[in-house]
């Protein structure tokens, strides 16, 4: 008789592809890095400060909430860090410190933790945070405030606000190439179109976001803006302008694709994305906000549980009757 070892007993499957929430979150943060770094380069140390404060306070809030609610502290999965980063990227570099901390509180705790933490949030937490901040302190979100502090060699106007107030004549001030390369005023993480696309493509290739959503969202933007544009070019800007300004690309790759608030089936993903793009342009062109991305994304988040009920027929479904 030999010595009996204790073996690990658990359930099938005994293999795993090695992916984890932590890996996913780190990848998302890495993908967001080019756009963020560009923002820091563009807006200086103030932007870096905002991003750092945003990430650290988001993690601190989560840890605090976990501690108070006597749950295991889970900041090592970087979930709060991702929310903080997304949130920080949507802020103007001129924002004050206490607004960042309040905002991350709203995003992390009200937006996610009270719904049961990761996976429970019905809305994108970062979008909730920014939209509540926007409702409260509109003045802090004045991107044009950057004018006071910086010297730029391009048109230093927030493109969408200019469009809203002065009409599509301003479009000519913003050549697409310079918008793509980040020569525009906006939030820290959303100005550098090329960087966001790069990050987004990375995430798509790595399979961390669902390409169907991003694609449908961008198509929704282009088609809707194009239809508006051809009906009255003197009132509505062209699709490319819409695509590369404001939060559009950021929304397409980082906000709309937040996993727990977006659908997972194929057709719903297309409906969800396209609806988001459509609403964004609708709000910009006939609504009252310069940039409709946030509200559009929150609204499609709201539709998500409903449209995600459209799903393929499960295997063998519908044969039960025949069998009986």
């Amino acid at each position: 008789m030999f010595k009996q070892n204790k073996f690990t007993v658990s359930h099938a499957p005994f293999w795993h592809d090695g992916d984890s929430i932590k890996a996913m979150n780190l990848n998302i943060m890495a993908a967001a890095l080019p756009a963020t770094l560009f923002g820091v380069f563009q807006f200086g140390m103030a932007a870096l400060g905002v991003i750092c404060l945003s990430i650290s306070s988001a993690m601190a809030w989560e840890a605090l909430f976990n501690f108070v609610s006597k749950r295991p502290i889970a900041i090592h999965d970087y979930n709060a860090a991702v929310i903080g980063m997304m949130f920080g990227m949507m802020l103007p570099p001129t924002i004050t410190w206490w607004a960042v901390i309040t905002g991350t509180f709203v995003a992390v705790i009200v937006g996610q933790q009270i719904f049961g933490g990761i996976g429970g949030n019905p809305f994108n937490p970062a979008a909730i945070g920014v939209s509540i901040l926007l409702l409260s302190w509109k003045n802090l979100f004045d991107f044009d405030a950057a004018l006071l502090n910086y010297q730029f060699d391009f048109t230093a106007l927030a493109p969408l606000a200019a469009l809203k107030h002065q009409g599509p004549g301003v479009v000519e001030l913003f050549p697409i190439s310079s918008l793509v390369m980040g020569n525009q005023i906006g939030s820290i993480g959303s100005v550098f179109g090329a960087g966001i696309i790069l990050g987004g493509l990375y995430l798509i290739i790595r399979g961390y976001i669902r390409w169907e959503i991003s694609l449908a969202y961008i198509l929704g933007i282009i088609v809707t803006a194009w239809i508006f544009n051809i009906t009255d070019p003197s009132k509505y800007a062209n699709p490319m302008f819409h695509l590369f300004t404001g939060y559009t690309l950021f929304g397409a790759f980082f906000l709309a694709t937040e996993s727990s608030s977006s659908p997972v089936n194929l057709i719903p993903m297309f409906i969800y994305g396209a609806m988001g793009g459509f609403l964004t342009i609708l709000i910009r062109n006939i609504g009252s906000y310069p940039d409709g991305t946030l509200y559009a994304i929150l609204f499609i988040n709201l539709l998500n549980p409903l449209i995600d009920k459209i799903r393929p027929k499960a295997f063998g479904k519908g044969y039960e009757q025949c069998a009986k």
Partner: protein, 197 residues
């Protein structure tokens, strides 16, 4: 059957009691309510428009029947001379009627000012018509021959961003005022003259 009769009797007595109570409360408060409406709804708007008058416009008021509508005009005096009238018109907003108090200088036929009295617009957006000084200020000084419509509709008024319908409603009310004033000017002048005497 007895129960049936009891039911009917009880409900009838209850209703009668309720009706009686309410009728008496109503009679007791009727005048007071009318005063209050005048004081709180019309007065602030009138005061805002006719801020520098020497009289109390609430006292110096007269009524004119215009078509089927009774309009109350409040007269403002500058240095004892009655040269301004204000009256209320209505436009359509989001969720219904939007009252607009319009003050007109009868000598120059120019608008002194406008002020939104009642509205039921979306909180935060439509109510800006009441609070946004810039929007209302656009009307001041405009003469009666101007087109009181939003720029979108080919007029001279800048709509409030994000409150197109409300802006339109205010403009419609202003146009109505313009219409009424032009139509009733002789009558108004007659009344004012009477008042001065």
């Amino acid at each position: 059957m007895r129960e049936m009769i009891k039911m009917v009797v009880v409900l009838t007595v209850l209703s009668a009691f309720s009706g009686g109570l309410l009728a008496s409360v109503r009679t007791g408060t009727k005048d007071k309510i009318e005063q209050q409406v005048l004081k709180f709804q019309k007065a602030p708007a009138i005061k805002q428009i006719l801020s520098d008058v020497s009289n109390d416009p609430l006292q110096d008021r007269f009524k004119i029947m215009d078509k089927e509508q009774e309009l109350t005009f409040f007269v403002g005096k500058h240095d004892g001379k009655p040269d301004a009238v204000t009256f209320e018109t209505a436009g359509k907003g989001f969720g219904g009627d939007l009252g607009l108090m319009v003050g007109i200088n009868i000598e120059s036929d120019a608008i002194i000012g406008v002020c939104v009295t009642t509205h039921s617009e979306t909180p935060g957006i439509g109510s800006r018509a009441k609070d946004d000084p810039k929007f209302a200020a656009q009307f001041a000084g405009m003469t009666m021959d101007k087109n009181f419509a939003t720029k979108k509709d080919g007029g001279d008024i800048d709509a409030m961003s994000g409150a197109t319908v409300t802006s339109k409603g205010v403009c419609v009310a202003a146009q109505q005022a313009q219409d009424i004033y032009t139509r009733l000017k002789p009558e108004i002048q007659k009344q004012i003259a009477q008042m001065a005497n």
